[in-house]
Symmetry: C2
Amino acid sequence: MAESTDETPTLVPAKLVPLGITLAVGIVFWFIPPPEGVKQEAWHLLAIFVATIVGIIAKPLPMGAVALIGVAATALTGTLSIKDALSGFGVPTIWLIGVAFFVSRAIIKTGLGARIALNFMKVLGKKTLGLSYGLGLADLVLAPAMPSNTARAGGVLMPLLRSVSLAYQSDPNEGTQRRVGAFMMLNAFQINIITSAMFMTAMAANPLAARLAGDAGVEITWGQWFLAALVPGIVSLILIPLFVYKVYAPEVKETPQAAQLAVDELKKMGAVKPAEWITLGVIGLLLVLWIFGKTLGVHSTTAALVGLSVLLLGGVLTWKDILNEKGAWDTIVWFAALVMMATQLNKLGFIPWFGEAVGAQVQGLAWTTAFLILGLVYFYSHYMFASQTAHISAMYAPFLAVAISVGTPAVLAALVLAYFSNLFSSLTHYANGPAPVVFGTNYVSMGAWWGVGGAVSVLNILIWVGVGAVWWNIIGLM
Amino acid sequence: MAESTDETPTLVPAKLVPLGITLAVGIVFWFIPPPEGVKQEAWHLLAIFVATIVGIIAKPLPMGAVALIGVAATALTGTLSIKDALSGFGVPTIWLIGVAFFVSRAIIKTGLGARIALNFMKVLGKKTLGLSYGLGLADLVLAPAMPSNTARAGGVLMPLLRSVSLAYQSDPNEGTQRRVGAFMMLNAFQINIITSAMFMTAMAANPLAARLAGDAGVEITWGQWFLAALVPGIVSLILIPLFVYKVYAPEVKETPQAAQLAVDELKKMGAVKPAEWITLGVIGLLLVLWIFGKTLGVHSTTAALVGLSVLLLGGVLTWKDILNEKGAWDTIVWFAALVMMATQLNKLGFIPWFGEAVGAQVQGLAWTTAFLILGLVYFYSHYMFASQTAHISAMYAPFLAVAISVGTPAVLAALVLAYFSNLFSSLTHYANGPAPVVFGTNYVSMGAWWGVGGAVSVLNILIWVGVGAVWWNIIGLM
């Protein structure tokens, strides 16, 4: 009877208060009569969608479970056909991110991620500031093929950050966190946010924004996303660490031991293994296919599937690795559910109606002013969210619709809101996936986190809107 | 660097000879000019499809990996758009089976499956034949909510079969396998095949057959499948154990200790736990919704999602359990890939063309004769397959097309081929998932397995075609 008793079947039911709130919101919305111009079924779907978002925030159950129950609700109530309810699972964007998760497993499994970081550390690691740039570059290199920003910050970089900190006797348990660790951790977190903004595949919910834009008639390719982010992204990557270094300086400014530590670790790792070469080759292939996909006629998801096929055929990843990659399956489920709801809300006419209705209120303003206000509201409302996904799901589509209705160039609006969907994570210690991981090391106080984060947010907005505007003019987006 | 070194990155590449065969078949097909009446793209898709099936049989990599690479090939070659290539993931049938896998986890996790089997054992277990009927009934009760026939036979029943066998000193290591174990094991295997045939959700690839039928314009509901299988299924469940008992009798015919063992185990398990009650309630709900779904207007997949929602909300299953259920994710991937290819082959006109072309060859025959020949060829060609899925994927759609084109009533043809897709598993020790598990216990010799299996196959065909024909006349299928 081995199989029946190896897990104790204790019940872990949904948390009642969050569940009550979620259901109450859904039910109240459901029975409110829809405003004029909104179909009954669109309104019912909105009720389920809002309840799902509330559920993702209030967490009666983990996000994936809430999303799946939301899907069940759309079908059970007859709001959507079961075919429409499950249509999200066939959306290529979902599989772009799912497959990218699988590919990133190879980066971790083969040790390639650690090796890349160690090499940057070896070359740039003699001073604290150089070290932080080195690890930032590692993050940047890994970002396009690692859509879990948490895996990049927590899985690849965190062990190195800890090793270096402890090598310099910087330990929150000893009250010495400010020697090296506090600056390094907070800085790595802020850099991770910038790299996440720069590639469509650098953060799990980025393609969600792209898909929502697609629903509004604005198709954004991987290359387009990258090109527009390139210049403001690089400027941010240069300036933000400098800024953090100024306002939250480490006590120890020279770190020769870090460079030495990297040399020792690299020696331990030995020569680059075949599995690492294959993975590196696949990443190179992916970058080429992603950047030049439009010219080559290869869809970004096709490219990802081809890369994964190579990793499977070459034996870098086994099929078991794929089935074990829970983060991917989790993401696929919640992603498919949210994309489906948002797409159907669009198809049923709700989002366009909302855009026009709100747009009409601000019709007097120039689009630049109107869009700036919209962008700032979108950005700073992230103080209220503990998840990028929840924030994007709830606000991206309606804000984009309003922005377009007041005359903002559509692609520009879609991209800026997408970049903001990452940059707003600088604000709090619960803003995104990596935040609690980094904050949980206790190196950075909450005051410093919020203070520096608030300042960085302003700086990032200035860079992305200022430098960005010039760049976007050059590449013809404005 | 914990994350980078916890797995040794040894390469486990695809097996070269099987890979070579798979690729060679695909490439040869690709460059053969299509016969008249078949579009070039349909032919190219056929080449990829055939290579995928060959790959599933030759196994250069596990089935899921082969299927996913097949999907990548359709998109990379431009044979299908990436949207079409991934469309399988949005098919409700896929999620019916995926979600049923999740639900069946609750049956195993809570111990409910073992408890049900033990209760039947307690009541019927005093004689060897009674015991085998008792465990057969347990299999029957669990079947509709456990689409992994391997989990039913291997996970729930096998531990009990082993315990009883050893309690009666029946052990292949001692040469005493024929005392009790050999009969019990072979019989349980044959019963499992019948219960798998009786419900659309009792075997992972059953909905694949249903979906392929749907592509040919024959929609089969869960209730229809069940109703048509009911009478021949029950007759088989009564007669087959009796037959196996006659031709492959156990030496020990009284098993009072088995009943006692069940009593002891049940005492150890204590009272029925809340988690078991909830699971039982969900199974009841599912059966009602599946049987009366058409009348109630609830799709079978919607029902499955609702059942899963209850298990999640009630805390019987955690979201982690869902993400850990690798069998489900595996099935979802290969299932979606195969359904997609078969559906597209239909849409591109290949399957109808094939049906008409072969149908024209046998146009002189009465449909009864023609269909009988088709059915027998379909059935006994399973000697060449080590997987129900591979067999169904390769042969179900074309055989159905031919059957319909010679005048067989469409629903009848679809159902009979679907039932045969389970019953043909009686033939060999590699016929389906449970076969190697049961055979691997070494209780049953290969000679006995093939001999009894061959005889059972004839008996099953006589029952399902003979009794079936009467029953299907009554319910208006013929």
